[in-house]
């Protein structure tokens, strides 16, 4: 099951490790994504802190970590081919993070709430 942040990141959690990406809504708002960059493994973040950035031709957006923890791994695929974030945002994860406070997940939205949130 995935949870969603107000900043339009998704997170799936397995065994205390979260996998994070940006949502379909986020990629549609940005348009053609031309660049993405993620903080390196070992970076320790609090929930809501900047974990990287995505850029399109006419816009740029920071990626915020939906949870606190340490970045374990980053995905090279979208850095090499940013269009993956447009074509398959749900499958294209950006980083894996070891959750230091799993209770933070409760503050995130589920799929239905997030869909409502996007409709405004």
């Amino acid at each position: 099951m995935r949870a969603y942040s107000k900043d339009h990141e998704w997170i799936g959690v397995e065994g205390g490790v979260g996998t994070v990406g940006i949502t379909d809504y986020a990629q549609a708002q940005l348009g053609d994504i031309v660049f993405c960059e993620t903080e390196p493994p070992g970076t320790v973040l609090s929930a809501g802190e900047t974990a990287g950035a995505v850029e399109s031709v006419k816009a740029a957006s920071d990626i915020f970590s939906p949870v606190s923890g340490e970045i374990l791994e980053i995905n090279d695929a979208p850095a090499e081919d940013p269009s993956l974030l447009n074509s398959a945002p749900d499958q294209t994860w950006l980083f894996k993070i070891r959750l230091s406070n799993p209770a933070e997940l409760d503050a995130l939205m589920d799929e239905n709430d997030y869909a409502d949130y996007c409709r405004g």
Binding site: V34, V57, A60
Partner: protein, 425 residues
């Protein structure tokens, strides 16, 4: 008296009437009375002939020095540079936001970037900066962002205006600046410089005209985890080794010697080039090559714009917007005309003429302050009229471009000799 409003008064009244207004005052209804002003205290307007007379008088009240450089040099400017860079489509356009009607400016920026990369031996250059001092300041900020360090080293013989500008920018960005002193030969000594710096900024040829031991400086900086930043006169790179080849990660400099007149200090263009790893930290405009949507003709656009202020706002790599496109165009055209051989010959002429005058002065007992290698400028131990004054160490800074003739240099030597005698009495 002069007016650049095409519409006759009668026509403007008609437009006003169309808006249901009877007086221009009604256009400013939103401006509250509390902030209205009376007539501005300005001199009476001038017709074009009067204006010309006044400006010609002002221009005539200046005198051109022959042997003053100190960062701005009197090089010959080929006639075609002025002719091409006065074309109104270059002069009266703005930032190429609409690429379909800006291919002229965009192609020229791309050519400028290419020329700067090739001269500096680095991977990526931007469309231009305001000048060398602000380019060096941006390089300092790039280095601090990259290394997350807060201290900056600059070689003490770097141009004083560059050092002062660095200090201003540093102060408001929470950075500190220290200077690596120069030794008896006028070259930077880094043995007492602190480790842990974000960058080492070194100018070569330095303010005294001396060529710094650039390979040693970049090696020291890299060894200390600091970004090596070179400040290099692009014209000197016609004969001097490129900063990229000598291990520098960033190079900046002043493009004035490439086809722009001294013009009392501006406007000119600065350049900034860096290794590929700094690509997304570069400030300002960058032109890139692409094709028409769906394939077709090749063209150029402004690219990597997500770095810039109009998109990233407070998170932009820099606040720079307008840069110095027309001055950069002058450099681009100048380099196209001179080519590699012309640039090499011009740079060589500067060095050879400087060597001639330096030796002539030496014969009269006016000694160089430093004995290290030099390019186009050198410092001497005597204060001389017609040269830039040096305070520390005391003396003069003498610049010799390829434009200076033997006759001018011999006359300068004679004058210098008489001044030296005058001083010794």
């Amino acid at each position: 008296m002069g007016s650049y409003i095409p519409a006759a008064k009668r026509e403007r009244e008609k437009l006003l009437g169309g808006l249901g207004m009877t007086s221009a005052e009604e256009l400013f209804a939103a401006v509250p009375p509390e902030c209205r002003i009376g007539t501005m205290n300005l001199p009476p307007p001038l017709s074009e002939p009067e204006l010309r007379r006044e400006l010609e008088a002002l221009a005539a009240d200046n005198k051109a020095p022959l042997f003053i450089g100190a960062g701005l040099y009197d090089h010959y400017i080929p006639a075609a540079v002025d002719a091409l860079c006065s074309l109104p489509e270059f002069v009266t356009a703005y930032t190429p936001y609409q690429p379909e009607i800006s291919q002229g400016t965009l192609t020229a920026i791309f050519e400028f970037q290419t020329a700067i990369c090739r001269l500096t031996g680095l991977d990526a250059a931007n469309a231009s900066m305001y000048d060398a001092a602000t380019a060096a300041s941006e390089a300092m900020l790039m280095s601090a962002a990259q290394t997350k360090r807060k201290h900056v080293i600059v070689t003490a013989a770097t141009h004083p205006h560059i050092k002062e500008t660095l200090r201003t920018y540093a102060r408001f960005n929470g950075l500190t600046v220290s200077e690596a002193p120069f030794d008896g030969r006028g070259q930077a000594a880094l043995d007492t410089a602190p480790h842990g710096a974000a960058c080492v900024i070194a100018q070569s040829p330095n303010f005294f005209g001396v060529i710094e031991p650039m390979r040693g400086i970049s090696a020291w900086a890299s060894g200390a985890g600091a970004v090596p930043v070179a400040v290099c006169d692009p014209l000197s790179l016609g004969i001097l080794e490129s900063p990229g080849e000598m291990g520098f990660a960033i190079a900046v400099g002043e493009c004035q010697p490439l086809g722009s007149p001294v013009s009392f200090g501006g406007p000119h263009a600065g350049y900034l080039a860096a290794k590929e790893s700094f690509l997304r930290r570069l400030p300002g405009r960058i032109a890139g090559e692409t094709g028409e949507v769906g394939g077709g003709k090749r063209g150029f656009v402004l690219t990597l714009q997500a770095r810039e202020q109009h998109i990233r706002r407070e998170k932009a790599t820099s606040n720079i917007c307008s840069n110095a496109a027309l001055s950069a165009l002058r450099a681009t055209v100048y380099l196209a005309l001179l080519g590699p051989e012309g640039l090499r010959e011009t740079a060589a002429l500067c060095a050879q003429k400087a060597a001639y005058l330096r030796a002539k002065l030496q014969e009269t007992g006016i000694k160089p302050l430093f004995d290290a290698s030099y390019f186009r400028e050198f410092a001497v131990d005597t204060v001389l009229d017609g040269a830039a004054a040096l305070e520390n160490p005391r003396g003069s800074l003498i610049a010799v471009t390829e434009k200076r003739t033997k006759a001018e240099m011999d006359a300068f030597t004679a004058l210098a000799l008489s001044q030296k005698k005058g001083v010794s009495i």
